[in-house]
C-alpha cells in the first residue's frame, strides 16, 4: 500500500473507532469531559504514528490504552482525584490490557449515548455541532476549526465550554428515557442536519473543506441509522442528505458560482447516492408514521427521478409541500410551496401565496423571499419588478456565491438578454 493510501486508511479507521473508544473510556473511568480530552489526545497520537508505523493489530485496544494513560497522567497532577487514578493505573500496568477489547458488546450503544449527550438541549447549536464532530465524528479540533473557518484556539474554547455545560447539567452517561429520549432524538437529527447544511450552503464565503462537513453529516446519519434501523425519520434524514448531496458536483460552476436546480447538468448527479436515498425514503414512507424529514426526502426524490427539469412532476412536489406545511410551522416551507404552485398553476399563483409571508416576522425582509419573488416576476414577464427584487436579495444575502448569482441575474435582465 502507498504511504498516502495508508494515511487515508488510518484516518477513516480512527474516525470510526473514535466514538467506541470514547464510550468505553467514559464508561470505565467516569467523567465524560476528561475522557473526551484523553481520547482526543490518543487520536492525535495515532494520526501521527499510524501512517508511518502501520496500524496496530488491535487499533481499538491501542487507542483505549493510550487514552487511559493520558487520563492517568492528567489525574496524577490532581491530588483530589487520586483514588480514580489508582483504578486507571492498575489497568495501565496490566501489560496485556491493550490486546483485549475493553468493552465487548457495548460499542454500538455508546455511539448513540454520545450523540445524545453532545446534542444536549443546554448547548447552543454551534457548541453541539463542534462537540458532536469531535466526540462522535472523531475529527481533531484543528480540522473542525478549518471547516468552520475559525482559529483553532476559538474552536478549542467552544468545545471546552460545551463540555463544561454538560458537566454542570449533571446528565449521566446513559440514554435518556421515554419522552425525553424522543425529544433528544429530534435534537440529534437537527444537529446532523445543521452540520450538513453548513457544508452545503457555505454560508460564510468560499471554502473547499466545507464539502467534508456534508460527508461527515452523512456518516453521522448512517451511524444513527445503524443504531435505530426501525425509525422512519432517521431513515428520512439519511435519505434527504444523500439525495441533496448527490447534486453537489452539479450545483457550482468552475469559478464557484451557483447553478440552480433547473440549469444543472443532471449527468453529474451521483447515481449511487440517488438510488440509496430513494430506496431509503420509499421504505420509510411505506412502513410507518410520516414525518418532516421523510417528506423533504420524498420531494428531493421527485427531483432526482426526473430526467430533466421540464419533466419534473410538480403536482407531486406541490402535494408533498402541502402535507409538510400542515405538519410544520415553517415559513421556508411556504416559500417552497409557492415555487411548486407557480410551476403547476403559473407564476401569479405563486406570487399570491408569498403575500402571506410579508406578515411573518421570521421571513419578512429575508433575502430568500426577495429572491423567490424575483424569479416569479421574471417568469411572469415583469422585468422591472424582477430586477428590483434580484438586487434587493443580493443586498441582503451573506453568501458570496449567492450574491454573485443574484447580481448576475439582475444584470442579465437589465441588459435585455
Amino acid at each position: 500500500m502507498t504511504e498516502r493510501g495508508h494515511g487515508l486508511d488510518a484516518r477513516h479507521l480512527l474516525r470510526d473507532l473514535a466514538p467506541r473508544v470514547l464510550g468505553a473510556v467514559a464508561r470505565r473511568h467516569g467523567d465524560f469531559a476528561d475522557a473526551e480530552d484523553a481520547v482526543q489526545e490518543a487520536l492525535i497520537a495515532a494520526s501521527t504514528q499510524w501512517p508511518s508505523a502501520g496500524i496496530p493489530t488491535n487499533p481499538h485496544g491501542w487507542l483505549y490504552h493510550v487514552a487511559v494513560r493520558r487520563l492517568a497522567d492528567q489525574r496524577r497532577s490532581d491530588d483530589a482525584r487520586r483514588k480514580r487514578e489508582e483504578a486507571a493505573s492498575a489497568e495501565l500496568h496490566d501489560d496485556a490490557a491493550w490486546l483485549r477489547d475493553p468493552d465487548t458488546g457495548a460499542d454500538e450503544d455508546d455511539s448513540l449515548v454520545l450523540l445524545f449527550m453532545c446534542c444536549h438541549p443546554a448547548l447552543t447549536s454551534p457548541s453541539a455541532i463542534a462537540l458532536t464532530l469531535r466526540a462522535v465524528g472523531g475529527l481533531t479540533t484543528a480540522e473542525i476549526a478549518r471547516a468552520f473557518l475559525v482559529p483553532e484556539a476559538t474552536m478549542a474554547q467552544r468545545i471546552s465550554r460545551a463540555k463544561q455545560q454538560i458537566r454542570q447539567s449533571g446528565v449521566p452517561f446513559a440514554l435518556p428515557e421515554g419522552d425525553e429520549r424522543m425529544g433528544r432524538l429530534d435534537a440529534v437529527m437537527h444537529v446532523i442536519y445543521l452540520v450538513f447544511n453548513e457544508g452545503y450552503t457555505s454560508s460564510a464565503g468560499p471554502g473547499l473543506a466545507r464539502t467534508d462537513l456534508a460527508e461527515e453529516a452523512i456518516r453521522l446519519a448512517r451511524l444513527l441509522r445503524a443504531q435505530l434501523p426501525g425509525d422512519g425519520e432517521v431513515a428520512g434524514l439519511l435519505a434527504l442528505l444523500l439525495l441533496t448531496h448527490s447534486r453537489s458536483a452539479a450545483r457550482t460552476g468552475p469559478a464557484g458560482e451557483l447553478i440552480p436546480l433547473d440549469e444543472q447538468d443532471r449527468a453529474l448527479w451521483h447515481r449511487a447516492s440517488i438510488d440509496e436515498g430513494i430506496a431509503l425514503v420509499s421504505g420509510a414512507l411505506s412502513s410507518g408514521e410520516v414525518g418532516p424529514y421523510q417528506l423533504q426526502a420524498a420531494i428531493a426524490a421527485v427531483h432526482a427521478e426526473s430526467p430533466s427539469a421540464a419533466e419534473t412532476d410538480w403536482r407531486q412536489v406541490l402535494a408533498l409541500y402541502g402535507v409538510l406545511e400542515r405538519m410544520s410551522d415553517n415559513p421556508i416551507v411556504t416559500l417552497n410551496r409557492a415555487v411548486a404552485a407557480s410551476m403547476v398553476h403559473g407564476p401569479r399563483a405563486g406570487l399570491a401565496l408569498l403575500d402571506a409571508l410579508d406578515a411573518d416576522p421570521r421571513i419578512a425582509g429575508h433575502y430568500r423571499l426577495d429572491a423567490v419573488r424575483a424569479h416569479l416576476h421574471e417568469r411572469a414577464g415583469d422585468r422591472t419588478d424582477a430586477i428590483a427584487r434580484f438586487r434587493a436579495a443580493a443586498e441582503r444575502t451573506a453568501s458570496a456565491p449567492e450574491r454573485d448569482y443574484l447580481l448576475l441575474k439582475a444584470a442579465r435582465l437589465a441588459d435585455g438578454e
Binding site: 464557484g256 438586487r391 443586498e395 441582503r396 458570496a400 454573485d404 447580481l407 444584470a411 437589465a414 441588459d415
Partner: protein, 132 residues
Amino acid sequence: MRYMMMMNTPGGKGGDYRINDWRPEDFKAHIAFMHRFNAALKEAGEFVDAQGLTPPGEAKLVRAGADGRPVTDGPFAESKEFLAGFWILEVENEARALELAAAVSAAPGPRGAPLNMGIELRRIMSAPPVEG
C-alpha cells in the same frame, strides 16, 4: 510582514460597486479577476485571509450610552465610499504589498476598464510572544 489590505468602493444608490449599471459580461469578468487574484496569492504563499462584507445597507455604528447600553447610528446606504472587503497578506516587504494593492485597485469594471479603486494598506502590528 503582515498587511491588511482594504478595498474601498464607491457607495451610492447602486449598492456595492454601483454594479447596477454593469453589463453581465463585465460583472463576470470582475468576479473572475477576483478569483484569479486570490488563487495567485495562495499559490505564492501570501494569502492569510480574505473576506467580503455585506453591503452597508444594514451597517450600524455602535457606541455605549451613559448606562452602558448600545446606542446605534445607521444604516449608511448613502455613504461616499464603503469597505467592500479586506485581505490579510503575508508578504516579504512593503514594496510587494504596494504592488498587490495596485493590482487589485485596477480590477476590471465596465467594459474592462480598470476601476482604480481606493485600496487602504495598513501594516499589522506583531503580537507579543505567547507564553506557553
